[in-house]
């Protein structure tokens, strides 16, 4: 086999040249982890850390309590590292890309150059060199903000990484988080120095090799005292990817008076109309409000993936800290989403707010699962939760599973949930004014989601609105 030969060759040259065609040996083993670590030129402590996670993984079991069931994943049959595709393999121009995809791009109003980048068309060097990314980089450097791939940070800022990596999601947390700790390939690292307000929205899109972060992404964001950062992840355009399993870890740390706003728009390939294929998006996202008066706010728009399974959480340790979670989850056809949040109140006067909107159409299943836990010492804490579900048709399901724990008499917890269908009167009113059924539904759904859409940064908000309408196309009738 040609690939066999290639592999031997790689070993012969000791990975020093041309990483372009490299693939890690298939399967999950110590060798794979050493391979990844070596290729990333990681120091020894990082490799030890990975191996520690790997040892832990051996005794952990895959969780099975979740609502969406999926076929067993053969972890020995996966590649855990493969280098970016070479120019040769990529489509030469947009003409070679799936026309359906292009149609969606046009609906979203994405510029031509971006379309090329998103669909993986080999972009010529000229376009890349004038990219906005480099200009932004200079501005960030001036403020002392670090924004780079995590593999770079491990080499350049080992102290920061050592201190915070795994401090919010411990390496032994749960199966997928541990798997990520053992084999993560890359991701973003952000550090905002004290009393600095990040002058722009940071986005993976602007990080140079962003599109090839792979299936085990690791993100670490640290906001030092009195700083502020807004981070955007993903993008509204549908993303194609060969990897079926995505198990990313995202850790946020907010120190005294700091604020982190993390927005996600997820639109991975959801599989076809019959539910074949599609990405499994099993992500662990957790933020720690470590300092006093700190704030972490999660906003997510989940429209893609065959299975979305994630609970962006906030650990409210510091007194007066605030956690927020705004979510829209749209499932259509055979998609399944089990998402929600955990708000763990430990400090005094901590506040949290959860707004979740689930929309289910076709044969999809949409679950909100959340935890609000007010500890005995979290005096005067407050939580407000609202989760609304909208159902279209009687082949889909909407579920709400909130866990509410209150151990404290001075704290207040409020939870509300409703499930309903689109109001006939509203539809009729829209129809009467000349909107067709699809437009009317999209208008009403956008209204239903408004509270969450408003939380998105400007760059995202407009596109996200369009995305909400597009996701439901074909579900009305």
């Amino acid at each position: 086999m040609k690939s066999e030969e290639l592999k031997n060759q790689e070993y012969k040259y000791g990975f020093t040249t041309e990483i372009e065609n490299f693939k890690a040996p298939k399967g999950l083993s110590e060798e794979t982890i050493k391979f990844i670590s070596k290729i990333k030129k990681e120091p020894k402590w990082m490799l030890d850390w990975r191996l520690k996670a790997f040892n832990r993984l051996k005794v952990l079991k895959e969780p099975n309590w979740q609502k969406p069931k999926y076929p067993n994943i053969d972890y020995q049959d996966l590649y855990y590292y493969s280098a970016p595709k070479s120019m040769k393999d990529k489509p030469k121009s947009l003409d070679e890309v799936d026309p359906k995809l292009i149609e969606t791009y046009n609906k979203l109003g994405i510029p031509l150059n971006e379309q090329k980048k998103l669909s993986g068309v080999a972009v010529d060097a000229v376009f890349d060199s004038v990219s906005v990314a480099t200009t932004f980089k200079g501005e960030l450097d001036k403020k002392g903000i670090i924004f780079c791939p995590i593999s770079e940070a491990i080499q350049k800022y080992p102290e920061l990484v050592k201190k915070y990596l795994g401090s919010v999601i411990p390496i032994s947390d749960h199966y997928f988080a541990t798997l990520n700790s053992a084999v993560f390939t890359d991701g973003s690292f952000v550090y905002i120095p004290p009393n600095t307000r990040c002058p722009m929205e940071l986005s993976t899109y602007f990080r140079i090799n962003a599109s090839e972060t792979g299936q085990f992404e690791r993100t670490l964001i640290i906001a030092d005292k009195g700083s502020y950062v807004s981070y955007l992840e993903g993008c509204t355009a549908p993303m194609r990817d060969e990897n079926q399993l995505h198990a990313a870890n995202v850790e946020l740390v907010a120190l005294d008076d700091a604020e982190i706003k993390y927005s996600t728009v997820q639109n991975w390939y959801p599989g076809d109309k019959d539910g074949v294929g599609g990405i499994y998006n099993f992500v662990t996202k957790r933020g720690a409000c470590r300092g006093k008066n700190s704030k972490i706010s999660w906003t997510q728009v989940e429209t893609g993936s065959a299975i979305t399974w994630k609970y962006p959480s906030c650990i409210l340790q510091g007194d007066n800290s605030v956690g927020e979670f705004y979510s829209i989850a749209i499932t259509n056809n055979h998609q399944k989403a089990d998402t929600g949040t955990k708000m763990i109140h430990l400090g005094k006067n901590t506040k949290s707010k959860i707004i979740s909107k689930g929309i289910s159409a076709g044969k999809a299943d949409n679950t909100y699962r959340g935890l609000v836990d007010i500890g005995a010492k979290a005096l005067n804490s407050r939580n407000y939760t609202q989760c609304d579900s909208l159902l279209m048709g009687n082949k889909c399901g909407a579920h709400t599973i909130p866990y509410i724990k209150n151990k404290n008499s001075s704290s207040t917890v409020e939870h509300e949930a409703t499930t309903s269908k689109i109001n006939e009167d509203q539809l009729f009113y829209c129809n009467q004014r000349g909107l067709n059924q699809e437009e009317a539904v999209s208008l009403i759904v956008n209204g239903f989601c408004k509270e969450v859409l408003q939380q998105l940064p400007m760059e995202f908000a407009v596109e996200a609105q369009k995305l909400v309408s597009i996701s439901l196309e074909g579900s009305v009738g």
């Binding site: 009687n394 909130p402 866990y403 509410i404 207040t412 269908k421």
Partner: protein, 414 residues
């Protein structure tokens, strides 16, 4: 695990040989995993295993009792028929207000046919040790004239004992029954594990009250499985404060159109009390309604839990389902946990739930105090108002007054 139990299967020897082998098997299965603990999703907030281990040793089913009828003090607040149960077993009944032909009360010996829940360990335990209970059936087209009171009496030699019983209630078509279950005990520390089956046929109504009036050291578990026919109604009121431990686990299926189900509870939990209400309402047919309102007042070191689930099948359009749980925490050592769950597969439905927990409204207290009411009185007044709300749906004035009196006594105990 073994020292925790001292089970004597011979006590159940009134049954047949095959029965005995089945019992042995069930007991073995139960002993393998013991009482349920937190790892079981249904027991997430109530670690029964550790509660039992902390409070019991040498649990035995071996008890003999002498029953003296005068020990039971009948209630004279309203006229009623009575059924007397001693340690969970049927003793006697008095149906003086009713047409005797229409009512069938007898002891219930079958251990089969009751609530199959094979993944519930307590079910295995019940199957192994149950001595039966009562069977109550109301014939067709009969509306009972007076309420039935079940005097659930427990004798004085029950320390460290476990009672397992199973009951069945059947209401045939076009009938109506009001049933009150009233516990009386002799301050022993014991466990009761009950499985109950309720069948409500078309156009029938069952109003069922669970009442505990005095403080008790009982550790009670009750599993109710109910099925409802067309246009039937099940109305359940839970007033079981006073028990050290109580879990009521209800699974009600609305199998035909236009049926409705109400579960209302008002609990005022004192020191160290732990009570859980778990419900699952299955909407299996269109146009059904379910309504749950759970209210808890929690004093120091008490623990209130509500786990409610509404399931709506895809054909059950026009479902109207509502869940509300409210808790007043009076002390920092008290705890309230809730899991109001919705699982919905039909789109034309109105399903909602709400859950709140917090302390007494300081503004309301301030308002009352400015009107010359003392702090303790003001608190009592607000708590009474908070709990009394669940009685709004009771039309029988005398029962309502009786229940209000019961609640008041419980609050004054706080």
């Amino acid at each position: 695990m073994e020292e925790l139990f001292n089970i004597n299967l011979k006590k159940t020897s009134l049954f047949s040989k095959e029965d005995e082998t089945l019992r042995k098997e069930n007991l073995k299965l139960f002993l393998e995993s013991g009482f349920p603990n937190k790892k079981d999703e249904n027991w997430k907030f109530t670690d029964l295993n550790s509660i039992i281990k902390k409070n019991f040793k040498n649990i035995s089913n071996d008890y003999n009792f002498n029953f003296e009828k005068n020990k039971i003090q009948l209630i004279d607040d309203f006229e009623h028929n009575s059924i007397i149960l001693v340690n969970g077993l049927y003793k006697s009944s008095d149906t003086r207000f009713e047409d005797k032909e229409k009512i069938k009360i007898q002891s219930f010996k079958s251990i089969e046919d009751v609530n199959d829940n094979s993944n519930n360990n307590l079910y295995l335990l019940n199957k192994a040790l149950s001595l039966g209970g009562f069977y109550l059936e109301i014939q067709e087209n009969y509306k009972c004239k007076k309420p039935f009171m079940i005097y659930n009496y427990f004798t004085s030699n029950l320390d460290n004992k476990i009672i397992n019983n199973s009951n069945k209630i059947k209401i045939n078509q076009n009938s109506e029954l009001t049933l009150l279950e009233y516990n009386i005990d002799e301050k022993n520390k014991f466990i009761k594990n009950t499985f109950e089956n309720i069948e409500i046929k078309d156009n029938s109504v069952l109003k069922f009250f669970f009442i505990q009036k005095t403080k008790s050291k009982g550790y009670f578990y009750k599993n109710v499985v109910g099925t409802q026919g067309y246009n039937s109604s099940y109305q359940n009121f839970i007033l079981s404060s006073g028990l050290l431990f109580n879990k009521i686990d209800q699974n009600i299926s609305l199998t035909k159109e236009n049926s409705n189900c109400f579960i209302l509870s008002g609990l005022c939990l004192g020191k160290n009390e732990h009570q859980e209400i778990k419900t699952q309402i299955n909407h299996l047919a269109p146009n059904c309604k379910s309504y749950q309102k759970i209210k808890n007042v929690l004093e120091s070191d008490s623990n209130g839990v509500y786990q409610g689930k509404i399931f709506v099948k895809d054909i059950a359009q026009k479902t109207d389902a509502y869940q509300l749980s409210k808790a007043l925490l009076l002390d920092d050592k008290s705890e309230f946990n809730a899991k109001p769950e919705l699982e919905i597969y039909a789109d034309d439905v109105k399903c909602s739930h709400g859950s709140t927990s917090g302390s007494i409204d300081a503004d309301a207290i301030h308002y009352l105090m400015t009107r010359g009411i003392k702090l303790t009185e003001a608190k009592k007044l607000l708590i009474t108002g908070f709990l009394n709300e669940i009685f709004d749906n009771i039309p029988e004035q005398k029962i309502k007054t009786f229940l209000e009196k019961t609640i008041k006594e419980q609050i004054n105990g706080v």
